[in-house]
């Protein structure tokens, strides 16, 4: 049975981590063809061809595909759907934007955020902010789904799949790209980092967030935030961890000044080791923390930073 995996592309680069994790999931379903679409997909396709488990790579370069716009990208995936029983993408902002559109165009349900593949039609996914896990069995002829990458290891780089060129579908011309505001950072990516240090409302201001970032830099970690910290303007939106933000599962997650609302826990409770620093000993975050420190973060975080490394 054949699987089409829509690779995650940013600019002209392959997002290796999310693509490689989704590939691990996809490979459990059958022979995987990786579709790499972009303004100029050649380099990203060459990267994808190296991933272990990719049987074939199709590169499609077209100006309409340069910015991940949903309509032309979905039209492309649908134009290729005929040969595949499973159509898969990582649960990134792009995957979540495009795959439900693909599913509706094929008149099938989308299966969002798959965390476990039971068999070719049966999948586990979290519901209610991860407070319940649902096993669903699809009755559709084609299964269109997004993969929760935190649940799968990244495929390695031992492959050498053949790359062929594909053609873009007609662009319905419904939307145009205006601009991207993307912060360039030397820090590791939030969803692939081994260590994440997150700050919450307790941090108090955008200026104070510097102490979170300093600790993160000392540890070579990514920086995360709670919704309250993002809503208050202390941190940018793409740092939000949780039910409606990013889902992370690093080796070490340090939550600072975060109370531990279920919506936040939904995005980080699969981390291997959780550390919480909070001045309220009753804070719910301590119920999931392996190591809890009841302390004022303005004392504890600089001290911790000083004593590490």
């Amino acid at each position: 049975m054949a699987v089409l995996l829509l690779a995650e592309v940013m600019g002209d680069d392959l997002s290796v981590d999310s693509t490689a994790k989704a590939l691990t999931a996809a490979a459990q379903l059958g022979d995987v063809t990786v579709l790499v679409a972009g303004g100029n997909a050649a380099a990203a396709a060459a990267e994808a061809a190296k991933l272990t488990g990719a049987s074939a790579v199709i590169a499609v370069s077209d100006a309409s595909l340069a910015n991940g716009l949903a309509e032309p990208l979905a039209a492309l995936v649908v134009s290729m759907a005929g040969d595949f029983e499973h159509i898969v993408a990582p649960s990134t902002a792009t995957g979540k934007n495009v795959m439900p559109r693909v599913a509706a165009l094929l008149d099938v349900m989308v299966i969002s955020d798959v965390m476990t593949i039971v068999d070719g039609d049966t999948f586990e996914r979290p519901i209610y902010a991860g407070n319940a896990i649902q096993t669903v069995k699809s009755a559709d002829a084609k299964k269109v789904m997004t993969i929760r990458t935190a649940g799968f290891d990244a495929a390695g780089e031992g492959g050498s799949a053949a790359v062929s060129d594909g053609a873009a579908a007609d662009n319905p011309g419904l939307s145009e790209w205006v601009e991207d505001k993307v912060e360039e950072s030397d820090r590791p990516d939030l969803t692939s980092a081994k260590i994440v240090v997150s700050g919450g409302r307790g941090v108090g201001s955008e200026e104070n967030f510097a102490i979170i970032e300093k600790l993160a830099d000392k540890l070579g970690a990514a920086v995360g935030a709670s919704r309250a910290a993002v809503d208050s303007g202390y941190a940018p939106n793409d740092w939000q961890v949780g039910q409606t933000g990013k889902v992370v599962a690093p080796e070490l997650y340090i939550a600072v000044g975060i109370s531990g609302a279920i919506q936040h826990l939904a995005g980080m409770k699969d981390s291997k080791i959780i550390v919480a620093i909070n001045k309220d000993e009753e804070a719910p975050i301590f119920q999931v923390a392996d190591y809890g420190l009841v302390a004022d973060l303005f004392d504890a975080v600089p001290e911790l930073e000083g004593k590490l490394g």
Partner: protein, 251 residues
């Protein structure tokens, strides 16, 4: 321009979810239900468009059990002008899948001909994040998901979207489907006089059959289970103790 806002009745976001012992689902009997938080944001945005003179009518639509009336009354109390309830289930435990919801919404839209639809990004019960995108596909309209800023300008809208790397701004042709993210606005509370007034606003009742849409699920639920519990850890007494633990275990 008419704006249509789909609103879903879901478990209140503050309620602790209980998985039923027989694995059949989540217990929703005698549980506080509310409007999906993202849909409150969508209703707010639609009302603001009306206040700015961009929209002239806001219609709220809900699909599900009869009790979704309450959710629609909330939308009316916030400032929606009219509501449509499409009854598609009689047991609160029966969730209508995004594909079926989108098909019903498409049928409603074929009749109502709105210039814009603002939905929520995600329902906090099934966490699907799919309905807006599916509806957009069925209608062949443009889509702007995860919106944190919307500016309607004649026959197009400029929308800023929350994406993985930060923010993306796109320009979509109208009519369009927009889905609301958390930071689009802060929804208002309905005032008591507005709650009273809402009781007199029109609320039409239809059924899924009226629109000829089959709502049988494509995904059957095999079982619903509790997630693995995390064992509670320990409290450390000092930063030194924490550093020692971290050095021993991860760093």
């Amino acid at each position: 321009m008419k704006v249509l806002v789909p609103v879903k009745r879901v478990i209140d976001y503050n309620v602790k979810v209980r998985v039923k012992a027989d694995g059949s689902g989540v217990d929703l009997a005698n549980v506080k239900m509310s409007m999906n938080p993202f849909d409150e944001i969508a209703v707010e945005e639609a009302i603001r468009l009306k206040e700015k003179g961009v929209a002239d009518e806001v219609v709220a639509v809900s699909i599900g059990v009869k009790q979704s009336q309450e959710t629609l009354r909330t939308a009316l109390a916030m400032g929606a002008d009219r509501a449509i309830l499409v009854i598609a289930a009689d047991d609160v435990h029966q969730d209508i899948e995004p594909l079926a919801v989108a098909k019903i919404l498409k049928a409603v839209i074929d009749e109502e001909a709105p210039g814009l639809v603002i939905a929520g990004k995600q329902a906090i019960d099934n966490d699907m994040n799919a309905t807006g995108q599916m509806l957009s596909a069925l209608l062949g309209w443009s889509q702007a998901t995860f919106a944190s800023e919307v500016n309607v300008d004649g026959d197009s809208a400029v929308v800023t979207r929350e994406v993985d790397g930060g923010l993306q701004t796109i320009k979509v042709k109208m009519p369009a489907i927009i889905t609301a993210d958390l930071r689009l606005n802060e929804p208002r509370y309905a005032s008591l006089p507005n709650i009273m007034k809402a009781k007199k606003k029109p609320l039409d009742e239809k059924t899924a059959a009226d629109y000829g849409v089959d709502v049988s699920p494509r995904l059957s639920v095999v079982k619903t289970t509790e997630p693995a519990e995390r064992a509670a850890g320990i409290k450390v007494g000092s930063v030194d103790e924490l550093v020692a633990k971290l050095k021993a275990e991860v760093l």
